[in-house]
């Protein structure tokens, strides 16, 4: 697992000049290269538009001309490059639409700078993780033991179809586990993949999240725990997972 290396290049498309400047500066100060654009058209006209020299795109949704949703949809036709939305629209519907058309994350203004950097790193890391396994589309539905896990909409459904509520951190953890079934996943990796939200709480927080998840998942159809502890190593997701 590589940490964000120097030289990772981001494109920022945001129509508000001062905010664009401030965001670019914030991102740059955290060790990324940034190219800023004020509209989709300007981005399309640039040399970066073929995406080959880009690692991530940060998109505002409300843009003059063609909006962020259209831009994202168009990019997704040809590329899996990570996309993060930054939007003034905070409703759940907007968020779901954003994630369903293939964005990797959705942030609401005003964005906390630390949060933004953490999300950029998490998204880049996930993209890195999937880099070797191109056949698996990120965000595809996961099925196990009658359960359904929808990484795009961030929803979990029990066998009888009812939605089970889990926290963001629990969800990330479950996605990580379910993506690597029957393999031992270390606490460190789980912690890293749970979006850096609960930074500073250490290994214990992973244990707490696991115990909360177990309570919500209940036992599998064969009566055993779905998440098994491997003492000293980490956890194993027991059920068979299909996509």
């Amino acid at each position: 697992m590589e940490l964000p290396a120097r030289g990772q290049r981001l494109a920022l498309i945001e129509d508000d000049g001062p905010l664009r400047m401030l965001l670019a500066r914030c991102i740059r100060e955290n060790g990324f290269e940034v190219a800023s654009f004020c509209s989709a058209a300007e981005f399309a006209a640039s040399s970066l538009a073929d995406l080959t020299h880009l690692d991530l795109i940060i998109l505002d949704i409300m843009l003059p001309g063609s909006n962020g949703i259209d831009v994202c949809r168009k990019i997704r036709q040809t590329s899996k490059i990570p996309i993060i939305f930054i939007s003034a629209r905070a409703s759940q519907t907007d968020r779901i639409v954003g994630l369903e058309i293939g964005a990797d994350d959705y942030l609401v203004k005003p964005v906390d700078p630390d949060e933004l950097i953490a999300r950029i790193r998490a998204v880049l890391r996930r993209a890195d993780g999937h880099a070797g396994q191109d056949s698996e589309p990120a965000g595809a539905m996961l099925y196990f033991d009658g359960w359904r896990l929808d990484p795009r909409r961030r929803e979990l459904f029990a066998p009888e179809g009812e939605r089970i509520s889990v926290s963001e951190a629990e969800f990330d953890l479950l996605v990580t586990l379910a993506s690597m079934p029957q393999r031992v996943v270390s606490r460190a990796l789980l912690l890293e993949n749970s979006r850096g939200r609960q930074s500073g709480q250490g290994d214990r927080s992973v244990d707490v999240l696991i115990s909360r998840l177990r309570q919500k998942l209940g036992s599998a159809s064969n009566g055993a725990d779905m998440i098994r502890t491997v003492r000293g190593l980490g956890y194993v997701f027991v059920p068979e997972v299909t996509r």
């Binding site: 905010l19 609401v108 203004k109 009888e160 509520s165 919500k216």
Partner: protein
């Protein structure tokens, strides 16, 4: 208006019925008077003619026989209606009553047989029984030899029976007409009553569509006008809401700039204070926009409320505010997931602000699910309950608003409960604390 308030009924039906009663009474009186007037005239003329003819014939017959046979003849001439006697003196004028009717009758008789006037006909009314309204006619006419032919009717001639009968008939007609009209008024009024009932619902909940197809034209126009009015009100509200929401969205961008600029403040205390301020402003915007979103919920989905409550409790615990959960491990219901989550979170937010210990209790019986958030804070005076559930209403400053809300928290929760067909119930606990319960009727329909 205030004078006649007690007499003049409130309802339109009652008013119309009262008007009908008055009109029908007037009709009854006038018609009764006219008809009985006409009838008594016809009757009087009829009696007059009969008497005139019979008396004339009797007089002529009697005059044509010798005096000795006259008395017997007079008796023989008596009929079922009229009795004749031969007397030596004219019937005393004082023997009976005189009346206006009698004068007319006399005139009728003379008009029919003018010879009777020359023969000195005199008639009078005679009451044969005491305490009876029946009057009989008596009279006499002179016969040549100084004797008088007296006659009296065997039947009463006054027409009170006829008059009463006539009035009864007119009255019956009036009652039948009145009854029919009252039923029609009620029928006519029904669409209006229905319209009034629907109209009183305007503004309470969803759009009321007035579809008046059967009622009178005026009511159809009223219902069209009410529809148009609702359209305009909705339109104004929508524009206001949109304007406010647009401002809310637009403010996020400058707020985002401020948030990024703040990161460059060197002084740590100042920076953190400013970050906190921006956070509060963000919360306010969030609350405002969520309030607008509440009215446009996603469809209901089958949701496990137990995990929903647990996730909320865990979230607060992770921020250092433990919230207990008591309830089943699974409880499935059809709910607006996002809205309900926000509704419960708002209650827990309040509980965290006002109490040192708080918990969520989830209970369900056959037809009601109750989600109660209880704290051990100071509670709320009961008279404030309704006010605080309205948008933009807050507790007084003394109680403080630690999280800088704008008074939409309880309003959003109450609105979400209503969207589920339920309600938000506040209750003070003993010895202190508040219990806020979201009551949700059990609903199995997926998209209700």
């Amino acid at each position: 208006m205030s004078l006649g308030w007690s007499v003049w009924p409130q309802g339109l039906t009652s008013r119309l019925v009262l008007v009908l009663v008055l009109v029908m009474t007037a009709q009854f009186l006038v018609a009764g008077l006219l008809i009985s007037g006409d009838e008594s005239k016809i009757q009087r003329e009829d009696i007059g003619r009969r008497i005139a003819e019979q008396v004339t014939v009797a007089e002529r017959l009697i005059e044509s026989v010798p005096s000795g046979q006259r008395r017997e003849l007079a008796q023989a001439l008596s009929t079922q209606h009229l009795e004749f006697r031969l007397v030596d003196e004219p019937v005393s004028r004082a023997a009976g009553r005189q009346s206006e009717m009698l004068r007319y009758l006399e005139a009728d008789i003379f008009a029919w047989e003018p010879s009777l006037q020359e023969a000195g006909l005199w008639i009078a009314l005679e009451d044969r029984k005491e305490l009876s309204l029946d009057s009989y006619l008596t009279g006499s006419v002179e016969i040549g030899d100084g004797s008088w032919l007296a006659f009296r009717t065997r039947e009463p001639v006054t027409n009170w029976r006829w008059a009463a009968f006539t009035l009864l008939r007119v009255g019956l007609v009036a009652i039948v007409i009145f009854g029919t009209a009252a039923v029609l008024v009620r029928t006519l009024n029904r669409p209006l009553v229905r319209l009034a009932e629907s109209a009183s619902l305007i503004g309470t909940d969803a759009r009321i569509h007035f579809d008046e197809k059967t009622g009178p034209r005026e009511l159809r126009r009223v219902s069209e006008a009410l529809n148009a009015m609702q359209d305009r009100v909705d339109d104004v509200l929508l524009q206001r809401t949109r304007a406010l929401a647009a401002v809310g969205h637009d403010m996020r961008t400058p707020l985002a700039r401020i948030r990024l600029r703040i990161a460059r403040i060197e002084d740590r205390v100042e920076r953190e204070a400013a970050e906190h301020d921006v956070e509060i402003m963000g919360h306010m915007l969030q609350e405002l926009l969520e309030y607008f979103d509440t009215d446009d919920p996603a469809p209901r989905t089958r949701t496990d409320l137990a995990s929903l409550c647990r996730t909320i409790c865990d979230g607060f615990e992770d921020l250092g505010n433990p919230v207990g959960y008591s309830g089943p491990d699974r409880l499935i219901a059809q709910v607006h997931h996002v809205g309900l989550r926000r509704a419960i979170e708002n209650l827990v937010d309040n509980a965290v602000d006002h109490g040192t210990s708080r918990g969520i209790v989830l209970r369900a019986d056959d037809d009601m699910i109750r989600i109660t958030v209880a704290d051990n804070g100071p509670g709320i005076p009961e008279e404030e309950f309704q006010r605080l559930m309205r948008p933009f209403e807050r507790m007084d400053k003394a109680r403080g608003e630690a999280n800088g809300g704008i008074g939409l928290g309880l309003a959003i929760t109450a609105r979400v409960a209503e969207l589920h067909g339920g309600r938000l119930v506040l209750r003070n606990r003993e010895p202190n604390g508040l219990a806020a319960t979201i009551e949700l009727p059990v609903c199995d329909e997926p998209s209700a």
